[in-house]
């Protein structure tokens, strides 16, 4: 019984950790993209750029999606996962 319980705990930790890393991993991907292709960040060279080119910053959008997921979706989900399996 203890073996089953410890296996369940390990699985839970593994899944919770994976959920917890989804957001930061996405945000890191956005950051790395911004470093590799800095010309995609028009905010770094705003002269002569129109409104939409200043709004459209795909690497920053990826970063924001990662942060939003980490801030608004992941914590509650991990909490619910623990409650369901604990």
């Amino acid at each position: 019984m203890n073996v089953i319980a410890s296996r369940l705990a390990r699985t839970r930790t593994w899944r919770a950790r994976l959920i917890g890393t989804l957001g930061p991993a996405t945000a890191t991907a956005g950051f790395v993209w911004a470093v590799i292709q800095p010309y995609r960040i028009t905010l770094l060279h705003p002269d002569g750029q129109g409104f939409w080119w200043l709004v459209a910053e795909p690497p920053l959008w990826v970063l924001l999606v990662g942060l939003a997921f980490a801030r608004y979706v992941a914590p509650g989900l991990i909490e619910d996962l623990d409650a369901a399996e604990g």
Binding site: I19, W52, V55, A56, V65, A74, L81, A84
Partner: protein
């Protein structure tokens, strides 16, 4: 003041990325845990429906040929259909889980529309390559959507379904209005403007 087509593609890529992350999280924790908070089951179908609604202005303002207009119109319709059906399933207005096959239909129609409306070869220019890649990707991944409708508890279908959206987002982020692909750019495509 109108954004360029590539910028619109990046906006949709951002929506698809969020969609993919939510679906991946749902695949990891299972539908019961995901549904523990009332708002969460509405997240992905709501986002799909919302993007379907926004596809209409894209169709009106960003298409320059009949076949292009028809393709975008078909995406708008199937995205709204699958989003609406999944919303109705969550809400309890629909009961038969086979309504999830509307998502598979959306994949097939979207993939076919991408392939049919692209008149040029793979290496004509970047957007042509992405149309072919996205079209075949969606047609192939309809297997995951069908599997998810028939065997919703199998992790492989749920994970494949989620990864489908993440890669669609990655491909949409690669889009440019006119740019080379792997060093190829057709002479008749025009000059890359950025």
């Amino acid at each position: 003041m109108q954004p360029k087509a590539e910028i619109v593609h990046w906006m949709f890529a951002t929506g698809f990325l969020m969609l993919g992350l939510c679906l991946l999280a749902e695949a990891l924790v299972g539908p019961e845990v995901w549904a523990r908070r009332a708002w969460r089951p509405y997240l992905w179908p709501g986002l799909a429906f919302f993007m379907g609604v926004w596809m209409w202005p894209v169709m009106v303002f960003f298409t320059n040929s009949a076949i292009h207009t028809l393709a975008h119109g078909s995406w708008a319709q199937v995205m709204m259909l699958c989003g609406g059906a999944e919303l109705a399933l969550v809400r309890g207005k629909l009961h038969n889980p086979l309504w999830r096959l509307t998502t598979a239909l959306a994949f097939v129609v979207s993939g076919a529309a991408l392939l049919i409306h692209e008149q040029n070869g793979w290496l004509f220019q970047r957007s042509a390559f992405l149309h072919h890649a996205l079209g075949w990707w969606l047609l192939g991944c309809s297997v995951f959507a069908i599997g998810r409708a028939l065997k919703p508890r199998m992790v492989v279908w749920q994970t494949g379904f989620a990864v489908t959206f993440v890669l669609v987002a990655a491909m949409l982020y690669c889009d440019r209005d006119l740019a080379p692909i792997f060093g190829h750019l057709s002479n008749v495509a025009g000059a890359p403007h950025r």
